[in-house]
Amino acid sequence: MSETHITTDVVIIGAGPVGLFAVFELGLLDLKCHLIDILDRPGGQCAELYPEKPIYDIPGFPVISGQELTDNLMKQIEPFGPTFHYNRMINKVKNLDEGGFEVIDDEGQVYRCKVVVVAAGGGSFQPKRPPVPGIEAFEEKSVFYSVRRMEEFKDQDVVIVGGGDSALDWVLSLQPLARSMTLVHRRDNFRAAPASVNEMKELVDAGKMKLILGQIGELTGEEGMLSSMTIKTADEPINIPVTRLLPFFGLTMKLGPVADWGLDLQDNLISVDTEKFETSVPGIFAIGDINTYPGKLKLILSGFHEAALMSQAAKKIIAPEERVIFQYTTSSTKLQKKLGVK
């Protein structure tokens, strides 16, 4: 729990391409931003889902990868000195009596700001939960989606499910201390680093662990503690003892706590107007994939446009007395100074 709160003009929730570009548009209007993201780096979906995949509809770039776009945006907003807070999720947004908002993240950090911009795309990335009935009851007790403390797995019957690097890396790290280790994967083909796969296969050949081709079946246990599980295989289901289960099926997006902030929603998207991209709560804006309005297209370029208009409205809230003159970066020496090019 942090004792001191952070004060800034704008808190942007989500550091995907649209959240990043909002820093630029707000920055031109002298507004300072803090960005919060659940991932450990900027880029959002561009970085997490398709860093290497080409995007063909960014104006001015016939082709650009998700990672290149992110890198370019980071460079573009550098002059405005935004502050990033990664690996955090915003739990609460509260209206303050004196105006503005208090935003609180899952580590208890408090941010005070005059404007909140939700640029959270498809929501926050969270581990995929296997659709197995009753799995919730075991979560955080004997089913984990990440390894925080290795001791938790000492002398346990560990079952890891998945075929990627997370699954293989943890098989190799936890196998020496576990009582038994079983890797479950749907096919005899792994997308993890070949060296890890070979090492795992050597352990299997040496009888030090098991590899079962199949999928999670039913879980059995009491009061959150697993005792056994079935594995659905091509033949008969297999029953094995398990006291710790680690499913590694990657990440998915969930709207998460945003749903509880009192904003008008439509089909899990935040309703906004198309003049300011403001939500039903004045001072809270929503831009990019997370918002909806008549004619909405989930395109990065639409999010950029929304960021520009939102910024004008945010400026009027934060500095109502100031007269904003509309200027171009090409010709305005004032703007060029802010960008550090003059």
Binding site: L49, K53, P131, R186, Q215, T252, M253
Partner: protein, 105 residues
């Protein structure tokens, strides 16, 4: 061109499809319960379907990339595919799919 879809509640739908559309796009357009998070980039596996066994052979086999994405789904079966990788064409008129629980919104 018709796409026959059984949703997660077991309800059958007869959807008008267009040649060249991805099966995912047809289902999304008709408002089926399909997340299709990445929009067809073969990058998320939230358009996972079970293909009617009789139709499996008529599909172009899954690429390594698609198989790798299917690895991130916990409810795959032998007839699992990503519907964003199935392009509708004449030979697939009448294709039967079942939406997987893991594709639900």
């Amino acid at each position: 061109m018709i796409l026959l879809v059984t949703d997660q509640d077991g309800v059958e739908h007869r959807l008008e499809a267009l040649e060249g559309w991805r099966a995912m796009e047809v289902m999304r357009d008709w408002g089926m319960n399909i997340r299709a998070e990445c929009g067809g980039a073969c990058a998320c596996a939230t358009c996972h379907v079970f293909v009617d066994p009789e139709w499996m052979d008529k599909l172009i086999p899954a690429s390594d990339e698609e198989e790798a994405m299917l690895d991130t789904v916990a409810d795959t079966r032998k007839n699992s595919r990503l519907s964003c990788q199935i392009l509708m064409r004449d030979e697939l008129d009448g294709l039967k799919l079942e939406l997987a629980p893991s594709s639900a919104k």
